[in-house]
């Protein structure tokens, strides 16, 4: 990665200037690397990729252990001001990809969608192809696509796709198709590999319950709905410091059973999150975003996430979601409203990131647990299908249609869209080319191929 190189040069320049104060990590420090890795730290490759420069300030930490040096380096890497960030935006319920990106050139579309098909005359054209049109509500997304900021994968799933929300959603979150060995999710394991052990805000779920894709073995993560509303108050107790030290002490105590251990550790994360969010909690009136977000859950979530990313908390991954995509009946209006919200939210999101100087560093992956059945049903809706639409949005996304659309002439044995792209190859590409971690360290059965999803800065 070029970034690592330039950092290394910069660091050497500092070293030459301040030869007395800075020394490279002693060679023997690397001896402990294998042990540190076994404990879940960074790999050497990650350190280099993260642009740490392998330097530490030597005076002031003369007795720092090998592990201490590496942990400091790891923390620096995770919190590096230019670290990349991946945002997972989940469309809950199974988004109808065929009515989101409409295959205008496919003659079967109008037949299969005789009840709720999108009229080709109203679909919004794409700048570079006449094969597809956007749903008429997606003016916001179309603008981003035309600016080259949206990579589109029209049929992403896995082989023999399962049509249960729980199973398919679970596979996407864990990154493992079939029964998973534990509760961890692919983003949680990513943080286990590249994250720190003390910064919950390295992984943020904007919501109330922890998103399972963020479950890790060690790396703490935070669930925050609004950073302005994360205080601890007890009526008529004047200061937090009257009680938070006791809670901190309890959160560090050992427990015999996993249940109490989990509660204590999450209490520790909660208080740590609260402490780190303090600068935002104090803001009376956050600056308004350049483009107003829709007044929806998704709009609010992205607005709050923008504030947290803007504050530089060392976030590497984040999760937001939008619900209501399980459109079994009366789909037309409901889906139009959902897509309007999605397109407008994404447009406001990119403008917000631009204004914060973050748009080169943040990539947003929009996904759903499956697509919907090509043939619409008698209730003017669609049933669970396969082959969902996946979008990557951001300045560094490789804009355009980036994987094959299978067409509607031939469907799979369940009458669903044929899958052309395995979601794990999307993950593997993002892990290696965006987050800087070897895919095999996160995905136990990582597929071989990588996709052209990103372009150079």
């Amino acid at each position: 990665m070029p970034r690592g190189c330039s950092d290394w040069h910069g660091a050497r320049a500092v070293l030459r200037r301040d030869a007395g104060r800075l020394v490279p990590i002693p060679k023997r420090a690397l001896d402990g690397l294998a042990a540190f890795e076994r404990q879940g730290g960074l790999s050497r490759r990650d350190l280099l990729a993260g642009g740490v420069g392998l330097l530490v300030a030597a005076n002031g930490i003369p007795g720092l252990s090998t592990q201490g040096v590496l942990e400091a380096a790891a923390a620096q890497a995770a919190g590096a001001p230019d670290a990349t960030i991946l945002v997972s935006l989940y469309l809950d319920g199974g988004n109808d990809g065929l009515n989101t990106l409409v295959p205008l050139a496919d003659p079967r579309y109008a037949q299969l969608r005789s009840r709720i098909g999108i009229d080709p005359a109203t679909a919004l054209p794409l700048v570079d192809t006449t094969s597809f049109g956007w749903h008429p509500s997606l003016a916001g997304l179309r603008e981003l696509y035309d600016a080259g900021k949206v990579a589109v994968l029209p049929s992403v799933d896995y082989s023999h796709p399962d049509q249960s929300h729980f199973n398919s959603g679970g596979y996407w979150r864990s990154g493992i198709v079939g029964p998973a060995p534990d509760r961890t999710g692919w983003l949680g394991r990513t943080l286990d590999a590249i994250g720190t052990h003390d910064n919950p805000l390295q992984g943020i779920h904007v919501g109330w319950g922890q998103d399972p894709s963020l479950n890790g073995r060690r790396a703490p993560v935070a669930t925050v709905s609004s950073p302005s509303d994360f205080g601890f108050y007890i009526p008529d107790v004047w200061e937090e410091k009257a009680f938070l030290p006791t809670y901190r002490r309890l959160s560090r105590a050992r427990a015999k059973h996993p249940a109490l251990a989990a509660v204590r550790s999450m209490y520790g994360n909660t208080i740590e999150t609260h402490d780190r969010l303090a600068p935002l909690a104090k803001e009376d009136k956050p600056a308004p975003p350049p483009l107003p977000y829709p007044d929806s859950n998704l709009g609010k979530s992205l607005g709050n996430l923008g504030r947290m990313l803007g504050a530089g908390f060392g976030t590497r991954v984040a999760v937001v979601s939008s619900g209501g995509f399980d459109t079994h009946d009366a789909q037309a209006q409901a889906h139009a409203d959902l897509l309007q919200d999605l397109g407008d939210s994404l447009r406001a999101w990119q403008a917000d990131l631009d204004a914060r100087g973050l748009s080169e560093r943040v990539l947003t992956m929009v996904w759903s647990e499956f697509g919907r059945r090509p043939e619409d049903n008698d209730s003017a809706g669609t049933d669970h299908g396969a082959g969902g639409l996946l979008l990557l949005v951001g300045n560094r996304a490789n804009g355009g249609i980036r994987s094959e659309f299978p067409g509607l002439a031939q469907l799979d044995p369940d009458d669903n869209l044929v899958t052309t792209t395995d979601f794990r190859s999307v993950y593997a590409t993002l892990l290696e080319q965006w987050l800087g971690v070897e895919a095999a360290r996160v995905l136990p059965r990582a597929p071989g191929g990588r996709l052209p999803l990103l372009r150079a800065a």
Partner: protein, 327 residues
């Protein structure tokens, strides 16, 4: 609410009766698209969840084909939006032959219940589910065999299974530390009961929602995921604030005499909180807090505020601390 009554009425009764009643339950008929499913357009929603969630377990002894065939057998239910009445229209029922779970026949809705319940995968699935409600550990195979036998020999009675679970030594092993995480409703109800508080505000609804469990609004048809899935930084902060809301105006400034010892302060707080289980760590943290929080605060205004404040904090830790989250 009617569904709640149905569940309560048959919870300790016969599972076959319960399954049949739930199939006719209005909320179920609507939510899983059973009402309106016809021979011309059978809806698979109920059939799938009936096998996956309620009777057999995910991918356990049935196939996609079984689901589609069962959906055919379950056609014919109707709902009239004007009169709000549920019904069954034989003309909309698919009377043809179906293949379900290895059997062949002109099956109807009640047959689907029987076929699932008589399947060999059903009894172990249900007994494991019932055990899992009481213990986070795997059910010992020896006990599971006894549960399955009791369940099948009684003709799908639930009570005998529960009796065996609740009287088995395995359930009471290793209990010096609680080992399950309280669901929000259990946490809040327990807190209200321990402190002798009544429900006087509907604020509990949004607080429970933010803890991850809005009553009667499960996230999906499989219900809430249990144990560690309840935990997030957001939900724990809400549990903390929910306890704090109970402490408003409980002790006023000036109400606590200066002569009250640290031990007395802790003891009184334990009584207030209903003598909950406390870990060693909590015991010693409270003892040292109780000593240090008022040390050197002897001015009149300090005694007036900080001595009651100490007990507010002690109560809060007992109601909302880590120990209070497990059972």
């Amino acid at each position: 609410m009617r569904q709640q009554r149905t569940l309560r009425r048959y919870a300790l009764g016969n599972f076959r009766t319960l399954s049949r009643a739930m199939m006719r339950d209005g909320a179920m008929q609507i939510w899983l698209d059973l009402a309106g499913s016809s021979d011309e357009a059978p809806n698979e929603n109920f059939a799938r969840e009936f096998f996956e969630l309620f009777t057999l377990g995910a991918n356990n002894g049935y196939t996609e084909k079984d689901i589609r065939e069962a959906a055919r057998a379950l056609t014919g239910f109707t709902f009239d939006y004007d009169t709000k009445r549920f019904g069954f229209d034989p003309k909309r029922h698919d009377g043809g032959t179906k293949h379900i779970l290895g059997q062949r026949g002109r099956f109807g809705p009640l047959d689907v219940v029987d076929l699932a319940l008589d399947n060999r995968h059903h009894a172990p699935f249900l007994c494991t589910q019932l055990w899992g409600y009481f213990s986070p550990r795997t059910c010992p195979p020896r006990l599971l065999r006894r549960l399955v036998t009791a369940y099948t020999q009684s003709g799908h009675e639930i009570a005998p299974v529960l009796q065996l679970i609740l009287t088995d030594a395995a359930l009471y092993k290793d209990l010096e530390e609680p080992d399950m995480i309280k669901p929000p409703v259990v946490y809040v109800a327990g807190m209200l009961r321990q402190t002798g508080t009544y429900i006087t505000t509907d604020d509990w609804v949004w607080m429970l929602d933010q803890m991850g469990q809005r009553p009667f609004y499960p996230p999906n048809v499989s219900g809430w995921e249990q144990n560690e899935a309840w935990l997030s930084t957001s939900s724990l902060r809400m549990r903390f604030q929910a306890a704090a809301s109970l402490l408003r105006d409980a002790i006023k400034d000036g109400e606590v005499p200066q002569k009250r010892t640290p031990e007395e302060a802790v003891e009184r707080s334990l009584v207030f909180a209903g003598q909950p289980w406390t870990s060693k760590a909590t015991g010693s943290a409270l003892a040292s807090y109780s000593r240090l929080s008022v040390a050197g605060r002897d001015e009149n205004w300090e005694v007036k505020h900080y001595w009651p404040e100490r007990e507010r904090v002690l109560r809060q830790v007992l109601l909302a601390g880590p120990d209070a989250q497990v059972c």
